[in-house]
Amino acid sequence: MRYVPHTKEEIKAMLEAVGLRNVDELFSDIPTEALLKRHLQVEGGWDEEQLRAYFRKAASSIPDANSAVYFLGGGVYDHYVPSAVDKIIALPEFYTAYTPYQAEISQGTLQAMFEYQSLICELTGMEVANGSLYDGASAVAEAVLMAMRINGKRRVLVSECVHPDIIEVLRTYQLGQDFEILTLPQKEGVTDLSELEDLSNVSCLVMQNPNYYGFLENMNQASELIHKAGGLFVAAVDPLSLGVLKSPHEYGADVVVGEGQSLGNHMSYGGPHFGFFATKMDYIRYMPGRMAGQTVDVDGRVGYVLTLQTREQHIRREKATSNITSNHWLMALASAVYLSLMGGSLPELGQTILNRSTYLAQKLASVGYPLWQRQYFFKEFPIKARDAEAVQEALADSGYYVGPVIDEHTLLVAVTEKRTKEHMDKLIELMEGLR
């Protein structure tokens, strides 16, 4: 049988050693009423060729980024993944290991985690980072919970321009906590910072930059505002934008989180990706998640261990900073490899994305799809269309994909460094034809 190496003779010998007559007796501690009296009705027992045929049939009929042209955005993007990234995270010693509990035989994971943390710190300008969380949305929720742990206040301000998934996840996490969420309204595509009245007992303000629409927020003003009110500034950012956009450190963010997919991870129909989490040294003991730290071994050699484990659930149980244990390390490792390969090119990358997306936005406007709002943007932007869904469907029939659809008359268009002039000109032509 697949993956079970035992021969019949061995099974017999092992049962004898245990003092049992048959395998049924291995389950004699399960009450008869709870025992399954039949086989599971699960189709299977397939060989590898059957598996390949089954999965290939499905895969080959989906317009993926290799057969279609994606201008899709909304938090997940068709970015360039260097070939070396995939090869490295497929190394068996990386992907078949568990969490590095035995540090002496896990230095590969631990050093890479230390390096990942360092890279995230350099990118965001923050002082410390953890070893990853599940995704960008849950990272925001964890950031908010941390802010409340830090300052004990129970009101949270969230811009309505952050990704709806973030707001929704935050509201879900709120079910278990006693705090209030106040939203800052959107005005002309960006957060309206003018309507804040009662800023008492505000733990933190959550802003996203570029925001859900791809528009750039006034992060300086937001930061000033919340700091005046005595709260923490939580910034959710696209890490790939930080080669050109102001770093969170520059506008005084206290916690920087975000979705890491753009850093060398595939789209994977939405997951697995990872969330990154960086903050100030002062808050390190309030942080959720794993962290690697440098130390020495008994011979004085430099090595790495999981550190500050006393924050974590397996030590602190109900008093832990979070319940997280398995995070999304392999995806964070991919980003560490990505940043090692492309880190020096991030300014160039940011610039070309700006250049491409600006080109497309201007051209689309010229053929009748103006920007929904006149704001500065990075990588993606919302356009107006008479019937957004109809446009999306019609383009899909030509193998071109835009979206997601924001409302009946608005849809997002994202332009990564994989989209060439040729792709864009074709899209423009197709869309012009749809008017």
Binding site: Q111, L175, A292, Q313, S326, H328
Partner: protein, 480 residues
């Protein structure tokens, strides 16, 4: 170290060309949006990056290197075919219109149906990213359920003292009070104490079954009755499902919800710390509260199915993460399930339990099991006696095992066993490997008696030797 390989101006792969003329960034964005602080990234060539990480990988130990009996982690073999077929889906965007991804949705729906059959449950979400995330999701659903039923007094979660730390941590995050119930002398939930603890405040009883001692909670039916009697919910931490896979189902023994660890029972690799996947399967009563969207099948008049993400779930707790779940992990689990089928899954359960019991018995003379008798997928040995006699602790034995080419068992867990070594062989290990491990344990205990220093100062043959965790905690050097 990466940083030390840095050389300003060196480059890895090129940024893809656009075909457009370059425009200076100042023409595109006002200065107020632009970075002024220099960006300090290591600048490296591709070969240096590849070597760095290839050589790092060789300092690691994975299932592909050898036996990994890390208790409660179910470190079984990760079949290569699963990696191969899942990768075919890696370049799909989650915002693709539903009508363009039907074949993928069908795969995910099939996985859902298979997991429901495996657990004996009625409805499921693939959304949670990991086991602990599944726990949190479940407890938030419980919260919503009680609120929906107007049972606002339901504020307490009962958890055995042998439970994973995630259980109380998740309960706290979900806003419940945590009450601990002790284990009895058999390593099972102390029924008498449980009865005393259960009352109208009891919201959820979180039970890992088989538990972390590898014991099947044989009083499970009575426990369920007790909890249900006060209107509480029975939650199964499914981390140890491998110990009864194909033999018994949470849904048949009174559980109302259960999370699965696809990266344990269903062989998806752990990746050195994730990504996992923690689907939650529930009974009908909890279905309305599942995170949205829920993947549903609509059948047309011809019986042909189409698949939809259902967002119209007024009682849903909402999303617990962005998008739909760890899809690639789910596909690997589906490949695993399809490679085995019903009979194969049961054989997995059988052999996981046989392997554990065989080792347990073989080790009994050397490191006795804390709670003797039949176990399921794992058991917990205690080095208490060895420590008393020779001063050699469980940790020392664990470290010495590294010298002998094995990954160590889980140490010092569960907390109720002194000098605990929690051993889970899984079904994919050969008898020879089990014998070799038992032999290694015997040698180490022999060394403890005759030459304790060699054990106390272990490991000796690893890339680094025993590391100073206190220094790491004190000096907190967590970045370059």
């Amino acid at each position: 170290m990466l940083k030390e390989l840095h050389k300003m101006g060196r480059r890895g792969p090129q940024v893809p060309v656009s075909g457009l003329e370059d425009r200076p960034i100042s023409e595109i964005l006002p200065k107020e949006f632009l970075r002024e602080e220099p960006l300090s990234m290591p600048e490296l060539s591709e070969v240096e990056v590849v070597r760095h990480f290839v050589n790092l990988s060789n300092l690691n130990y994975g299932v592909d290197n050898g036996f990994y009996p890390l208790g409660s982690c179910t470190m079984k073999y990760n079949p290569k075919i699963n990696e191969e077929v899942a990768a075919w889906f890696q370049d799909i965007h989650p915002a693709l219109p539903e009508n363009r991804v039907q074949p993928l949705l069908e795969l995910l729906y099939t996985l859902q149906q298979d997991l429901l059959e495996i657990t004996g449950m009625d409805a499921i979400t693939l959304q949670p990213a990991a086991g602990a995330h599944g726990e949190l999701t479940s407890l938030l659903m419980a919260k919503a359920y009680f609120k929906d039923h107007g049972l606002l007094e339901k504020d307490t979660v009962i958890i055995p003292d042998s439970a994973h730390g995630t259980n109380p941590a998740s309960a706290t995050m979900a806003g419940f009070k945590v009450v601990t119930v002790k284990s009895d002398e058999e390593g099972l939930v102390d029924l008498e104490q449980l009865k005393a603890l259960v009352n109208d405040h009891t919201a959820v009883f979180m039970l890992t079954n088989p538990n972390t001692l590898g014991k099947f909670e044989k009083n499970i039916l009575g426990i369920a009755q007790l909890i249900h009697g006060v209107g509480g919910l029975m939650y199964c931490d499914g981390a140890n499902l491998n110990g009864m896979l194909g033999w018994a189902r949470p849904g048949d023994m009174g559980f109302d919800f259960v999370h699965l660890n696809l990266h344990k029972t269903f062989s998806t690799p752990h990746g050195g710390g994730g990504p996992g996947s923690g689907p939650v399967a529930v009974k009908k009563a909890l279905e309305p509260f599942l995170p949205k969207p829920v993947l549903v099948k609509a059948e047309d008049e011809d019986g042909d199915g189409s698949y939809h993400w259902d967002y119209d779930r007024p009682r849903s707790i909402g999303k617990v993460r962005s998008n739909f779940g760890n899809i690639l992990v789910a596909l690997k689990a589906l490949a695993y399930i399809k490679s085995l089928g019903g009979a194969g899954l049961r054989e997995v359960g059988t052999m996981a339990v046989l392997n554990a019991n065989y080792m347990r018995v073989a080790m009994e003379d050397t490191l006795p099991t804390a709670y003797p008798g039949l176990c399921k997928h794992e058991y917990v040995a205690t080095a208490e006696e060895v420590k008393k006699r020779y001063g050699v602790k469980a940790q020392d034995i664990a470290k010495r095992l590294l010298d002998k080419g094995f990954h160590a068992p889980t140490m010092y867990f569960p907390l109720i066993v002194k000098e605990a070594l929690m051993i889970e062989p899984t079904e994919t290990e050969t008898k020879e490997n089990l014998d070799a491990f038992v032999q290694a344990i015997k040698e180490i205990v022999e060394e403890a008696a005759t030459n304790p220093d060699v054990v106390l100062s272990a490991p000796h043959d690893t890339p680094v030797r025993r590391l100073d965790e206190v220094k790491a905690n004190k000096e907190l050097k967590v970045r370059w």
